[in-house]
């Protein structure tokens, strides 16, 4: 285990000092912003409901080729730096439109801190990733924190240079898939975390850490 309780206290203090994350919202493609649905300081919500079936708060309408498209929030938080000057302008793809200041939830903080505690599989290349089909099925069935993998197991498939390359677990021992840090088919920069694994024998320690974070955070 790469984390002890002194370190943990430091991490927690860091998060307490800045208990939020800023998510920039970019235009997904070109077009004209024909309407802003939020203004500075508005509260927005990400998808909700038991199955996330209720979509997030509408942020703005981007029209391209006569298709007005509602761009919605994917995170809870407050809208800030809303670039109202973009209204009725043609924008390029990937233009920053606003930011969402997202207060970190307990789970998110746990997930961030665990990056320092877990064996993290990082993206070897800037590419798109998906879970290997077998692992995907097992995770769907059993859920995070349950599925055990061992050396040589196929974990991920990387779509890179128009080819699909499998990524295998190289470390010896048995590991539990504990965290997933990427979204399927989204471009992940090289070095960004993909999966967080926990050695089976370290699970009790990890659970203690998580309990500690929960206790501290709720204070």
């Amino acid at each position: 285990m790469k984390i002890d309780f002194t370190q943990l206290t430091q991490f927690l203090q860091r998060f307490k000092a800045k208990p939020y994350k800023i998510y920039p919202i970019f235009t997904p493609h070109t077009g004209k912003i024909i309407e802003f649905k939020v203004k500075e300081g508005d509260e927005v919500k990400g998808p909700s409901g038991k199955w996330l079936e209720k979509p997030g708060t509408p942020l703005f309408v981007l029209e391209r080729e006569k298709n007005p498209k509602l761009i919605r929030a994917h995170y809870d938080g407050l809208a800030q730096n809303v670039r109202i000057e973009l209204l009725n302008r043609f924008v390029e793809a990937g233009e920053l439109v606003l930011e969402i200041r997202h207060p970190l939830t307990q789970d998110e903080i746990i997930s961030e801190i665990l990056l320092n505690a877990l064996l993290v599989i990082r993206a070897p290349e800037t590419a798109r990733y998906i879970l290997s089909s077998e692992l995907g099925k097992r995770l769907e069935k059993e859920g995070l924190g349950k599925v055990i993998v061992k050396e040589g197991d196929e974990l991920l498939i990387m779509t890179f240079m128009k080819r699909e390359t499998p990524i295998f677990l190289k470390e010896k021992g048995q590991y539990i898939i504990y965290q997933i840090y990427f979204k399927p088919f989204e471009l992940v920069q090289a070095g960004e975390p993909l999966l967080g694994l926990c050695p089976v024998e370290d699970l009790p320690h990890l659970e203690k850490i998580i309990q500690r974070i929960k206790d501290e955070w709720s204070l």
Partner: protein, 463 residues
């Protein structure tokens, strides 16, 4: 109103299109994606827009409308052979000129089975095999039997079959079968595979041509029923994944002895290609790909309804009324409805030209494409050498991971075969590409592979 071209592509072809536009006095707009910000085509473009994806038709058209473009050049790859895009470009409420053949030609010639059927009707030799998709294994076996008979009549020995998914391509959904008994199981397996992967169960069976050369004919047609050709090219040297690595023009070489009359074969495949082009009222540049066997038999394989990467080697050996040729310019001119202004008799062929594709790939380990940072890219300038690249010489360049890692094209012109070989060797010895992968290892390129393969040019090769 002045015409304005949207360049719907990236890299070196975007640069070549820009140059052609400038030479013709046309305005243009370039597009790029986030990953390509360092690319030379973005630096050189005067007017450019960032889009989400080179394949995103909606972004391209939105930019075209915003910039009031009147035409769109698709380059090669991406949307260049997408007949739906071509159709949309010309059929929308604010139509644009599609710099390429009509969408019907793209559709019909792009459908290999349909193209094969039409070619057959026109008396053009096609690879013996089925010309309708087969959905049923009994039928498959029957066809295979007939193909076998036919192949034996034509003098093939030890025939083996290629069972292919109609919807497949690029080496996917294709399997070799050595004897008839295996047809059924392979057919069933492939049908299931094709259904899963392409959603279409159609299968075709062809005989496998074991040894061949890959020749292609460069055609140009205009909207005024004019057709010319710019000779042939030889693209036999490919990677194991059937990607071209060295191309030469013309397709046959005077210094090589053949079992057949190369002049006659060349004339015939050119004539067949022109016939097929005329049948489809082909009104742009296009490439007709042929397989030629050591015995001098030839079969039409497919038609590329776009400008080819290797178009420039044909341009180098062709002279219209003694002037050099730029096929991109010709393509744009005919798209705007101009007449050719010359006929086949005005085109002369002189010399011999070769193109190397310089690629970041590990030729020792399964030709895997590599990504990384190019720190040094250097070569000496010669009047006989043209380098086409989007990699800047003056600063490090990161290879984007979404595209093929093509770095540069080196086009070399020689007076004759020996002259060409000498210049080619010199170039390969002098060119320097250095870089590092993300893991810090030196970046491999295919330069050594190209050196090795140089001795194979103009040979019949077995796959």
């Amino acid at each position: 109103m002045k015409d304005k071209v949207l360049i719907a592509n990236r890299g070196e072809i975007a640069i070549r299109i820009m140059e052609a536009c400038e030479a013709l006095g046309l305005e243009y707009v370039a597009v790029y994606t986030k990953e390509d910000e360092e690319s030379l085509h973005v630096r050189l473009a005067k007017k450019k827009y960032r889009i989400s994806d080179y394949r995103d038709m909606n972004d391209l058209l939105a930019v075209a409308d915003e910039e009031k473009c009147t035409a769109i050049h698709p380059g090669y790859g991406f949307l260049s052979e997408n007949y739906r895009f071509a159709r949309r470009v010309v059929k929308r409420e604010r139509p644009l000129i599609w710099i390429g053949p009509s969408w019907e030609a793209i559709r019909d010639l792009g459908n290999k089975l349909y193209m094969k059927k039409v070619a057959y009707q026109l008396g053009i030799p096609v690879i013996p095999g089925s010309i309708e998709p087969i959905y049923n294994e009994i039928e498959a076996e029957l066809k295979a039997e007939e193909i076998l008979e036919l192949a034996q009549e034509e003098g093939f020995q030890e025939v083996s079959f290629l069972v292919k998914a109609v919807a497949g391509g690029g080496g996917m959904g294709i399997e070799e079968v050595k004897n008839l008994e295996e047809i059924r199981p392979v057919f069933r397996k492939l049908r299931a595979y094709a259904k899963r992967l392409f959603g279409d169960e159609g299968i075709i069976i062809e005989i496998k041509i074991p040894v061949f050369q890959h020749l292609e004919v460069q055609i140009l047609g205009s909207k005024h029923d004019e057709y010319v050709h710019f000779g042939t090219r030889n693209c036999t040297i490919q990677s194991p994944f059937r990607q071209k690595r060295i191309e030469l023009a013309p397709g046959f070489c005077e210094n090589i002895s053949y079992e057949f009359d190369p002049k006659k074969v060349e004339e015939e495949i050119i004539q067949h290609s022109l016939n097929l082009a005329k049948h489809f009222n082909y009104d742009s540049v296009g490439t007709f790909e042929w397989l030629v066997t050591p015995e001098g038999k030839y079969y039409l394989m497919e038609v590329n309804t776009r400008i080819q990467v290797e178009n420039e080697i044909s341009a180098k050996i062709s002279f219209i009324k003694n002037k050099p040729v730029n096929l991109l310019k010709e393509q744009i001119k005919v798209a705007f409805g101009e007449k050719l202004g010359y006929s086949q008799r005005d085109i002369e062929f002189r010399g011999i030209s070769l193109e190397f594709r310089l690629i970041a790939e590990d030729t020792k380990r399964g030709f895997i494409p590599l990504s990384g940072v190019i720190t040094k890219f250097d070569y000496r300038d010669y009047p006989w050498l043209t380098i086409r690249t989007h990699v800047p010489k003056d600063k490090p360049y990161t290879i984007p991971t979404q595209f093929d890692p093509n770095l540069a094209l080196a086009i070399i012109y020689g007076e004759n075969f020996n002259d060409l070989m000498e210049k080619s060797k010199r170039f390969l010895n002098e060119v320097v590409i250095e870089g590092k992968t993300f893991k810090g290892e030196p970046l491999a390129t295919n330069i050594n592979f190209l050196k090795e393969k140089l001795s194979d040019v103009y040979k019949f090769l077995a796959v």
